[in-house]
């Protein structure tokens, strides 16, 4: 064994180097205040190790980035912890560098001959920010996508070359595959490598300046073991903090570790409205909001650029005690400013109802996409975004709001749901259900705003029929009406009524006959082989998927309202020329499925 060590030592001289390091003198003796550089080194190592393992899972493309992160987060054993440790140790790294810089400034340890030590530390801080910005995007979820897009778009503020810079950063005219490949290469290739080089450089410079200081006299002690012990304890503390942060949302379940939002949507009209930068940039963000839009370049580039310049010049400014006090004061002002602005931003957002609503919507979509990804069909090759785009539960309300809610409400009994801009057509919540039909066939309610109250049918034959013929029913007639309603509602084949439909099959059969001969509906409506089309909507397959697609597609078709149609627009009037229709077949299907409550549930 000894021989082996000898052999290696003869050829490499490494134990001499090691001994040199361990014995290198720490001026002033071992101190707790000297632990920062080592803690920074430690956090970076945690970054490198966890980053490597995350990399073994990561797939950088617009259809696979989020998906692979989802896989790590929710499928890989301990994957959530891996992500969380990587994420939080990055935040801790930034804090450590910040504290270290402040310490250097306050203790005047940036002046000659320590200028390089200081500058390298500042550069490490800047590259940590760069690592955070590039790493943030890689999850490709709503917030990271939107926030990064906003940041990269700032480049276009730079006169002349801004547009080109944007393309270089994004890898093309818009965000996509190449943005991810570039950011990944910058993150794990370039920035990490530069950071590692800076770290080594910093160590060497520090050793040199420390040795010089120790040689100049005063108390000094070797690094090993007293300072090493302190460093080890500090690193343990760092690790504990990182783990506490990583475990703050529990050790299992969907919310353990770092949240992963819904997948990014490249459609600009679905831009994530609650996007906010990471905490380290909140101060700058709020600062930029103090400026009117035309002057954005000032808070985004000029002021931060100037601040960084001042920090770099500190070794020169701080040659005299007065200059040193300027530096300390300057640092204090900047720090207080950043903290105050960050809190202001948080307070703003907390009080901002739109922001909170957008945030809640984001959480809902994240939750929903998790459900869909866990469905037996899983995530398709086209990416998880397709899951949301093809999900009636997600798209239905959006389509309803844009196309239907100018007139129709969609409100449940408690008044929850989607309120119309100007309610002037029936409330479509639970459309076609027994309960909806009971209201329609109630003499007191048919002319209420919930049904025909704000339409021209208020004065129509149907309202008159309900008012005249369904008034003052005796108990037996009431039961008959229930049967007729059940029969009509069964036509819809609603998922929510599957059980009742099966249980009431005999009543439904009776009700069908009553619709024809007892209540005389077929006098105006067609119902299966009875009655005629043309005077009122066909009741065959009433409120079924196919029926709803038809009536929304073209309510003025003779199968529905014909010439009697009130103001309902035709959303798919031209089955043969899809380009002319307002809603595509797919959108129509989503809307109808949503109205009928047909979507995947866990």
């Amino acid at each position: 064994m000894k021989a082996l060590f000898r052999w290696i030592e003869d050829r490499s001289g490494c134990s001499a180097v090691l001994r040199g390091c361990l014995e290198s003198p720490v001026p002033g003796g071992a101190r707790w205040s000297r632990v920062w550089p080592c803690a920074i080194l430690f956090s970076f190592c945690v970054q490198a190790v966890t980053g490597f393992f995350l990399w073994t899972f990561y797939s950088p493309s617009a259809q696979t980035a989020w998906e692979s992160v989802y896989f790590v987060q929710h499928e890989v054993v301990g994957g959530w912890l891996l992500r969380a440790v990587h994420h939080y140790s990055a935040q801790v790294l930034l804090v450590l560098i910040g504290v270290y810089l402040i310490q250097l400034i306050v203790t005047w340890r940036y002046r000659a001959p320590r200028e390089l030590v200081f500058w390298v530390a500042v550069l490490m801080g800047l590259f940590t920010l760069g690592l955070m910005l590039t790493g943030d995007l890689l999850a490709w979820d709503q917030n990271s996508y939107a926030a990064t897009q906003v940041r990269v778009s700032f480049l276009t503020l730079i006169p002349g070359i801004g547009g080109g810079l944007f393309k270089l950063a994004a890898g093309g005219p818009a965000f996509g595959h190449l943005t991810l490949t570039r950011f990944l290469a910058l993150h794990i290739g370039l920035f990490s490598a530069i950071f590692a080089v800076l770290l080594v450089l910093h160590g060497l410079l520090l050793r040199r300046t420390d040795a010089a200081e120790a040689a100049a006299g005063g108390k000094a002690a070797p690094f090993w073991p007293q300072q090493a012990l302190r460093n080890a304890v500090a690193n343990l503390a760092v690790l504990v903090v990182v783990l506490l942060l990583a475990l703050q949302h529990g050790m299992s379940g969907d919310h353990a570790g770092v949240a992963l939002g819904a997948p990014a949507d490249p459609d600009p009209s679905s831009f994530y409205a609650a996007a906010r930068p990471e905490w380290a940039f909140l101060g700058l963000y709020e600062f930029s909001n103090l400026f009117p839009g035309e002057l954005k370049i000032v808070p985004i580039f000029l002021v931060p650029g100037l601040l960084v310049c001042v920090v770099f010049l500190m070794p020169f400014i701080g040659r005299s005690p007065a200059g040193h006090w300027f530096n300390v004061g300057f640092t204090a002002v900047i720090l207080i400013g950043i903290v105050a602005l960050s809190f202001r931003s948080l307070a703003h957002d907390r009080a901002n109802k739109e922001h909170q609503a957008a945030l809640a919507e984001g959480h809902q979509q994240a939750e929903r996409v998790r459900q869909l990804a866990r469905a037996p069909s899983g995530i398709p090759a086209t990416g998880a975004l397709t899951l949301l785009r093809n999900d009636p539960k997600t798209q239905g309300p959006i389509l309803f709001k844009t196309h239907c809610a100018s007139c129709h409400d969609y409100l449940d009994a408690e008044g929850q749901g989607i309120a119309a801009e100007e309610s002037s057509a029936p409330n479509l919540h639970a459309y076609g259900s027994r309960q909806w039909l009971s209201g329609l066939l109630d003499p007191k309610r048919i002319t209420s705003p919930q049904y025909f109250g704000n339409t021209k049918f208020r004065k129509g034959d149907m309202a008159a029929f309900v008012r005249d013929s369904l008034n003052d029913l005796d108990d037996e007639e009431k039961t008959d009406l229930q049967k007729a309603i059940a029969a009509l509602s069964a036509e819809a084949r609603l998922r929510s009524q599957q059980e009742v439909d099966a249980k009431q099959s005999s009543q439904i059969a009776e009700g069908r006959d009553m619709l024809d001969d007892f209540f005389g509906c077929t006098g105006c409506h067609r119902f299966h082989d009875k009655g005629q089309l043309g005077s009122a909507p066909d009741l065959t397959g009433y409120a079924s998927g196919e029926w709803l697609m038809g009536i929304i597609g073209n309510p003025a078709h003779k199968r529905f309202y014909g010439d009697e149609n009130d103001r309902m627009p035709a959303y798919a009037e031209f089955p043969d020329e899809p380009a002319k229709n307002q809603l595509t077949e797919q959108q129509l299907g989503l809307l109808v499925d949503w109205l009928r409550g047909e979507w995947y549930d866990e």
Partner: protein, 194 residues
């Protein structure tokens, strides 16, 4: 770092020493040039490809049919229409994807105005809000508001410019065509994304 180079002797006298110094200088110059060239070639090759995105251009604006006139409310209430087109992302082409949206508003019986939904501030999607005095547009991200023609309403708006208008053509058969374009966000001038 550079390879350690022998320091040339600091001797100014003529003769063999001077000749040696000259040769030493030549060796230094040549090794520097060679080193730089050999390193530069791969770097340049890489950088040229890295700059490729500069030659990539976004979707050129072209007139697209969005809707027909009778769909737009006559009282001038704006309606939002998604724009569906093919989208290219590097090596992929996605047919018929939503690539944006437009607010259309009837200003005269046969005249339509179109606004991009993308907020010029930072790219959020603006929303229409009905108000007592006829409605306005509102950005949920940093609360910029605009009147129906797209003018900024706030005293100091986060948005550097008014909403971006788009060219509209109304055909004789009532079809509404819009020249769909995207613009840089954050700039005071309206610059088409190239």
């Amino acid at each position: 770092m550079e390879t350690p180079s022998p320091t040339p002797p600091q001797d100014n006298s003529a003769g063999p020493a001077a000749a040696e110094q000259r040769r030493g200088f030549l060796a230094q110059a040549i090794s520097l040039v060679l080193g730089t060239v050999t390193l530069l070639v791969p770097a340049v090759v890489g950088i040229v490809s890295f700059l490729n995105p500069l030659r990539q251009h976004g979707q050129a604006g072209r007139f697209m049919r969005l809707t027909s006139l009778d769909v737009l409310p006559e009282d001038g209430t704006p309606r939002k229409f998604p724009v569906i087109a093919d989208r290219t992302d590097a090596w992929n082409r996605f047919p018929n994807e939503p690539i944006g949206a437009v607010f259309l508003r009837r200003v005269k019986p046969d005249k339509v105005e179109a606004l991009q939904v993308v907020c010029p501030h930072a790219g959020c999607s603006i929303q229409y809000e009905a108000t007592d005095d006829g409605g306005k547009f509102f950005c949920p991200c940093h609360s910029a508001s605009f009147d129906l023609s797209g003018k900024r309403l706030d005293e100091t708006s986060p948005s550097p410019r008014d909403l971006d208008t788009l060219d509209v053509k109304v055909e004789s058969d009532g079809e509404v065509l819009v020249k769909f374009q995207s613009f840089e966000t954050g700039t005071a001038k309206k610059v088409v994304k190239a």
